[in-house]
């Protein structure tokens, strides 16, 4: 049942993917409201699917790679909906919808693990560690997307020869503000998640994911400190937000360590 719902979710998200493609190709706003509606329905379907999976499998829906991909997609859509409610930036959808679709699709393609559920994951810490980190990641994704939009729009304005993006993208101020807000939400979440993980696994055995996470945390830490104290804003801040999310992706996908707490159940 939960698998069926997940497939239904993919269906709804695929409309978003199609819309993003059409928007890029035709540079036009086509039926955005309908697409938004299908994303919202997809989001509820998705939440329900995850809830059902939880009750079906007897372990929290944030344990396997499949779980985590699906959860990541869910919180990214959530982050989009929240920022849309505040800023009404439909351009953000071009970044969010494809990623949500791909993550959910991957989650659906990966087969369920056959290994028994490891004892190490039977801990309340899991409920803090994983969700906060992925909520943080989704905020960083919004910061990444606004950073990219900023860089493109800034380039258009500096070159003084407006092209399609100039007309479609939001103002620099909005991109910058959204980037900053997302950071100031994402960074505390990531911090809580990392601290929780550290307490959970004391004494800490370093694995590649822990090292990469620390680098990511440091990058965002520097960015947010600069933003607060030295008024770093605009282009450099946007560049750092983009870079930061590349670290996030490396941390998430690039580091797999067998035998450590971060190896997914096969």
């Amino acid at each position: 049942m939960s698998l069926l719902l997940l497939r239904l979710t993919i269906g709804f998200y695929s409309i978003g993917l199609l819309h993003a493609f059409l928007t890029i190709i035709t540079r036009k706003k086509i039926l955005f409201r309908m697409v938004l509606a299908s994303i919202v329905i997809g989001f509820f379907c998705h939440s329900f699917a995850i809830g059902l999976a939880w009750s079906e499998s007897q372990h929290p829906p944030i344990s396997t790679l499949q779980d985590v991909l699906s959860f990541f997609a869910l919180v990214i859509v959530l982050a989009f909906l929240l920022s849309y409610a505040r800023y009404r930036l439909d351009s953000l959808s071009v970044f969010v919808f494809p990623l949500a679709f791909i993550l959910t699709l991957l989650a659906n393609l990966i087969s369920s693990p056959s290994q028994p559920y490891p004892e190490i994951l039977r801990s309340l810490w899991l409920y803090i560690h994983v969700p906060t980190i992925f909520l943080g990641y989704s905020a960083f994704f919004v910061a990444f997307a606004s950073g990219l939009m900023y860089l493109i729009q800034e380039n258009e304005l500096k070159r003084k020869r407006p092209q399609a993006f100039y007309y479609r993208l939001p103002s620099l101020e909005v991109c910058d503000e959204l980037g900053y807000r997302s950071l100031s939400i994402g960074f505390p979440l990531l911090t809580i998640g990392l601290v929780a993980g550290t307490f959970w696994q004391l004494p800490l055995k370093l694995d590649p994911k822990i090292v990469a996470s620390f680098i990511t945390w440091l990058t965002y830490g520097i960015l947010i400190t600069y933003r607060l104290s030295a008024n770093l804003r605009g282009k450099k801040a946007a560049l750092m937000a983009v870079l930061g999310f590349i670290f996030v992706m490396v941390t998430f996908f690039g580091t797999r360590s067998q035998g450590s707490a971060h190896s997914f159940i096969q």
């Binding site: 304005l157 003084k160 103002s171 620099l172 101020e173 909005v174 605009g234 282009k235």
Partner: protein, 421 residues
């Protein structure tokens, strides 16, 4: 659809011809009355602006109608027909519908997508409506045209980019600052140009105006009229960092703002962006300043480039708009055709006449040889029976087809009279 348009526009006629055929608002009532008093013109509407004069009319005889309207234009304005005819165009039927839609949607305007034309068309319609010059044919057409114009404005970007220098500056500010509310503008040089741009920006929500001029008194005077704050000549660099937007138009022979000044301003502003518009001749600002992060410098040529790009953008959007026009013309034509009852009446008459002829032949065979007079009498009698029998249903069809349930009634009548489709 007996619709016709005779008119001229900036595309076919120079200003000295357009002004001769222009209808001032005070003369429009006379003109409309004159038009609809003609027997071949049942409804009429005149759109007259500085860029175009169009007479829209409903007439059962299109060719005669076009002829009459042309004569009317010539007589009313006292211009020889041979002269104005070279500049006039005419459209009829579907082409006329398309033309009205294109005009109302600003696809035929001199500045593509300019918003005024829709208002002008609406005014023309309101006036004609008040005078009773438009009715069951032109009213639905005009309402559809307003709908199409609205649809095009919301579904394409044809009207949402700036096509004048001063508006391009406002548009750029909004691409940087999102909103001009609460922003501070500094006028560097208190000339006519900067005064105009300042007025423009204040109307867009700019809240604080700083004015600097080499001659202090001039700054003070302008500050008074614009309700701004004058800055003494030697204090420029103490205030310059307060400005989000700088408009430079001093008459200084050399550079007023150097790159190093820019770096200092950005530092003092803690990286908050500055938009500098340099309309001075020679330029006041070192172009290198644009290379500093968070400073955006536009000179008059740059603004012109933006306007050009916007016009190109509008042209592209106009292609989408033409697609919408095609779609809407088709839908309107279909709608009108479904209301058209002529084919129904013709079919009815034909159907009954066929029956009459069949029965007449049968009777003739039974009667044998008849004299010519007898044959004519039979022919006349049967024809008049049909005519009298059909009179009721046909006038019923004519009277109900305008009502909302008209098509249903007509279907019923057709069925009762044995007309199958």
């Amino acid at each position: 659809m007996s619709l016709l348009i005779v008119g001229l526009s900036h595309k076919t006629a120079p200003i000295d011809i357009r002004e001769k055929l222009y209808f001032p608002e005070t003369r429009l009532p006379d003109a409309l009355e004159n038009l609809i008093s003609q027997s071949a013109i049942s409804e009429s509407l005149i759109i007259s602006t500085c860029n175009r004069t169009e007479v829209l009319a409903h007439s059962p005889d299109i060719n005669l109608g076009i002829h009459l309207v042309t004569d009317f234009l010539s007589d009313f304005h006292g211009q020889p027909k041979e002269v104005i005819q070279n500049f006039l165009y005419d459209f009829s039927h579907t082409d006329a519908v398309r033309h009205v839609f294109r005009v109302a949607s600003s696809l035929d305007s001199m500045v593509l997508g300019e918003p005024q034309i829709l208002g002008q068309v609406k005014n023309a319609f309101t006036l004609a409506n008040r005078l009773g010059a438009v009715g069951e044919n032109l009213s639905p057409l005009m309402n559809k045209a307003f709908h199409v114009a609205k649809r095009i404005r919301s579904e394409t970007g044809i009207s949402n980019s700036a096509v004048s220098i001063s508006y391009a500056a406002v548009e750029l500010s909004k691409k940087i600052f999102d909103t001009l509310n609460g922003r501070t503008v500094l006028l560097l040089g208190a000339g006519k140009m900067s005064e105009l741009s300042a007025k423009h920006l204040t109307s867009q929500g700019v809240s604080k105006l700083l004015i600097w001029n080499r001659t202090y008194q001039r700054a003070v005077d302008l500050a008074k009229t614009l309700q701004g704050e004058a800055i003494p000549p030697e204090e420029l660099f103490r205030h310059v960092e307060r400005a989000d937007i700088l408009i430079c138009s001093t008459g200084a022979p050399g550079v007023v703002l150097r790159k190093t000044d820019g770096q200092r301003i950005i530092k003092l502003r803690k990286n908050r962006p500055v938009f500098i518009i340099d309309i001075a001749m020679p330029r006041d600002v070192d172009p290198e300043i644009n290379k500093i992060d968070n400073i955006f410098l536009y000179d008059i040529d740059d603004l012109r480039h933006v306007v050009d790009a916007n016009l190109k953008h509008r042209l592209k959007e106009a292609q989408f708009a033409e697609g919408i026009i095609n779609e809407e013309v088709q839908s309107y034509v279909n709608q009108v055709h479904s209301l058209d009852i002529t084919p129904t009446i013709v079919a009815l008459k034909k159907h009954w006449d066929l029956i009459r002829q069949e029965e007449l032949e049968k009777t003739k065979k039974q009667l044998g040889e008849l004299s010519t007079e007898q044959e004519v009498a039979l022919e006349n009698m049967t024809q008049s029976i049909i005519k009298k029998l059909l009179h009721g249903p046909i006038s019923e069809i004519k009277s109900v087809h305008q009502t909302s349930s008209g098509s249903k009634h007509i279907e019923m009548i057709k069925k009762m009279l044995g007309l199958k489709e």
